[in-house]
């Protein structure tokens, strides 16, 4: 029996809120699935749209983007700009037929260790149900 | 497919030396001993080196063709491949395709006095020729080496310049651009065209190899003309962007000439007929 499918989750998180939230989950000994690979960026405003595409190209099954709540941004408007960007970028990915429930957005503050635990657990279970994102990886096999 | 044309040989890095703040020389040896034994090249030829995952780059083979157990090349940290190359160290594996290009006509140079003029990172393509000449010393006349760089720290293979100057009938003239000298600098100070002018180099029965940035070549040519060197006696090595090295990918041509297969070594006379496309 091949081993059970372990989804690969890539999380792009902002350094000032969500990363500290994840850290808080750790210091509080809150268990959450190890499927997540955390990538720290200065702010959600710095999270380039291409990072999502790159994650799927390199084999991710789901992506999480998380940062400070509106009005909490260390750089004042990073998350506001990011929000505008995601509103349009989601529409583009949906138009292309990319599986939108593999892309998740949350605001997690430095105090929300529990929320981080819950978000990661939910995403991992959801992705386990969705199965591996073969459609994107198969693009590479079809040389075209 | 067995596309052996583009599949490199694997080589092991046996030594990396920092020449200047952004230039390193790398000594490599074939991993396959049979390939190492079968390998030979002419000084002045180049190879296309692979850093797997980054790509390929073209570098002159700057070791003498008489040294059998390794070859050497130099590179400056400027692009994606050289950035990846910068991080490699002893024992790492790189790829090599070659040798490519025509190389220096060392046979035609026999019996002649040799003038080597190099600027900036142009020392590697000159170094291989100098060592070759010194290893066949009796076949060649006087050797004059004029080498300049912007600053003292930019002089590549500086230690070997001293070694060369101790050989018989070899004159080494070092220079740095005005303002590039250090307090204990004993060499010349000035741009290469001026230094060549000031050094009263005799052009009798001489051949010159001039390599460096286009601007240096442009201002050195009139000086060589004045001291009596004819265009067909002055050689240079062209640098155009390359990918395949075997005349197929259509990238390196300057006018009618494919720099990879027809060059990279040309005489000034040939260069006059090559349009300004390099």
């Amino acid at each position: 029996m091949s081993e059970p499918f372990e989804p690969k989750i890539v999380a792009y998180v902002c350094n000032w809120c969500t990363y500290l939230g994840a850290d808080l989950a750790g210091t509080n000994r809150l268990e959450y699935p190890s499927n997540v690979r955390i990538i720290r960026l200065p702010c959600t405003g710095r999270i380039d749209f291409n990072l999502i595409v790159k994650a799927f190209e390199m084999g991710a099954d789901s992506v999480l983007i998380s940062g400070c709540h509106p009005a909490d941004c260390h750089y004042t408007a990073g998350n506001y700009h990011a929000r505008r960007r995601w509103i349009l970028f989601r529409r583009l990915l949906d138009t292309l037929g990319i599986e939108m429930d593999r892309i998740n957005f949350t605001w997690i503050s430095a105090a929300e260790g529990k929320k981080w635990q819950k978000v990661i657990t939910d995403i991992t279970e959801k992705t386990r149900a969705l199965g591996p994102y073969k459609a994107y990886r198969e693009l590479h096999e079809v040389a075209g | 497919m067995c596309n052996n044309l583009y599949k490199p040989d694997l080589m092991e890095i046996i030594q990396v030396q920092r020449q200047t703040p952004d230039v390193k020389s790398v000594r490599v040896r074939f991993r396959d001993p049979a390939r190492a034994r079968a390998f030979s090249f002419r000084v002045g030829q180049f190879g296309i080196f692979s850093v797997f995952g980054a790509g390929e780059s073209t570098f002159n083979i700057c070791s003498s063709s008489n040294w059998k157990d390794y070859i050497e090349f130099c590179f400056r940290r400027t692009g994606r491949v050289t950035e990846a190359l910068w991080r490699l160290e002893r024992g790492d594996t790189i790829g090599f395709r070659g040798p490519y290009g025509n190389g220096y006509p060392v046979e035609a140079w026999e019996g002649k006095n040799l003038i080597f003029i190099g600027g900036g990172i142009a020392m590697p393509p000159i170094r291989c020729a100098v060592w070759y000449v010194l290893e066949n010393r009796e076949k060649y006349g006087n050797v004059t080496i004029v080498y300049g760089a912007r600053k003292v720290a930019d002089l590549t293979f500086a230690s070997e310049l001293d070694e060369w100057s101790r050989h018989a009938r070899v004159r080494v003239i070092r220079t740095v651009d005005p303002g590039g000298e250090t307090p204990d600098w004993k060499g010349e100070v000035g741009l290469i065209p001026h230094i060549v002018e000031r050094s009263q180099i005799s052009a009798a029965n001489s051949v010159a190899l001039v390599i460096g940035p286009p601007i240096m070549i442009k201002y050195t040519m009139p000086v060589l003309d004045r001291i009596g060197l004819r265009d067909e006696d002055i050689y240079t090595s062209l640098e155009n962007r390359m990918k395949c090295g075997v005349g197929k990918c259509g990238r390196c041509n300057a006018g009618h000439v494919y720099v990879c297969t027809d060059g990279p070594v040309f005489t000034m006379q040939q260069l006059r007929s090559i349009p300004n496309d390099f």
């Binding site: 075209g144 | 497919m1 052996n4 790509g55 594996t93 990918k243 990918c249 006018g255 297969t261």
Partner: protein
């Protein structure tokens, strides 16, 4: 006496080839455009020479993206693995004569002094059935480069449309004979003489202009409209310039060969920042020189089959044809 095949017989043949696992390509109508594409069934193939396909058959021998080899990285060691390549036999049906003629031209590049195994293997397992042209448009100029509507260069067999869906089959090589053996009936109908496009320029005059035209202001004046895309080079049957890059991750990847274009800014860009061809007019000049002076000097043939794709597909209405007509008129003015 000529060998005749009916269109239905030809489509049955195609279905037979597809059934036996061969790759078959032909002009196909795709979202309002005629393009050479691999067939799923013979019904898709357009077997009459109306619109010239907007791309060319070179993609089936010199693909736009091709893995050269795979590399595996582990620590300081690297392992190179040949990439599995397609060995299936390939048949291109109803190729235009100006496409079939591209293969001998590409042979000079890929199979001259050192052999490019990828192209050479593809060439051996490919059979080209050309379809003579009984129509042409304003962009066609095959007659100006020594070809014509029923040229046989590079083709293994030539079909000539006799009307009411019958074709004369002219077998040219034993590859062609193998495909059509016993599949044609003898017939008496004579193929009509096909008349190609009028000559648009004199290749000799162009060659003469190029002999010392490198610094002629014409390049700057006539190519201002060029926007620097790669349409002319990528839809051209004989443009063959390529790039090689590595694609992969820390565990390994593959070195791939991709089409590249002399019209792109990055084509001759040095890492030092120097670019010998910094302006678009220098790049347009390079394209004309390579096709009508550099390649002819090395191999004695033109690097152009006159298909007109560059003129037809250029978003700015340029392409080789526009520039060569200008050169031709300029050379003629000098003589008068």
């Amino acid at each position: 006496m000529s060998a005749i095949i009916h269109e239905s017989g030809l489509r049955t043949l195609i279905d037979g080839w597809l059934a036996s696992g061969k790759l078959v390509a032909a002009p196909v109508e795709v979202s309002g455009r005629v393009l050479y594409q691999r067939l799923k069934s013979s019904g898709e193939a357009i077997l009459e020479s109306r619109e010239r396909p907007a791309n060319s058959i070179k993609q089936f021998l010199f693909p736009r993206h091709q893995a050269l080899f795979r590399y595996r990285l582990n620590g300081k060691q690297v392992e190179l693995v040949d990439s599995a390549d397609d060995t299936r036999e390939q048949i291109i049906v109803a190729a235009r004569p100006c496409d079939a003629a591209s293969l001998p031209v590409l042979d000079h590049i890929f199979n001259c002094d050192c052999k490019d195994a990828g192209f050479d293997e593809a060439r051996q397992r490919t059979t080209v059935i050309a379809l003579a042209c009984n129509s042409h448009d304003e962009a066609c100029f095959c007659t100006s480069v020594g070809l014509g509507p029923s040229s046989e260069a590079g083709a293994d067999a030539l079909l000539v449309d006799l009307g009411d869906s019958e074709f004369e089959v002219r077998v040219l090589t034993d590859k062609g004979r193998k495909l059509f053996e016993g599949r044609t009936e003898p017939g008496t109908r004579e193929a009509p003489a096909l008349e190609g496009p009028p000559r648009k320029f004199d290749a000799g005059a162009v060659r003469q202009f190029l002999a010392n035209g490198f610094d002629n202001p014409l390049w700057g004046e006539e190519s201002v409209g060029c926007l620097g895309c790669g349409v002319c080079t990528y839809t051209c049957p004989v443009c063959h310039c390529f790039d090689m890059v590595d694609e992969g991750n820390a565990a390994g990847g593959e070195r791939v060969r991709n089409w590249d274009s002399c019209q792109f800014q990055m084509f001759t860009q040095h890492a030092s920042g120097h670019n010998p061809r910094a302006t678009q007019s220098q790049r347009q000049r390079q394209r004309i020189y390579h096709k009508f002076s550099i390649y002819p000097e090395r191999f004695g043939a033109l690097l152009c089959t006159g298909c007109g794709n560059c003129a037809r597909n250029c978003p700015a209405g340029l392409g080789v044809l526009r520039l060569l007509e200008k050169i031709d008129s300029r050379v003629r003015q000098q003589h008068v």
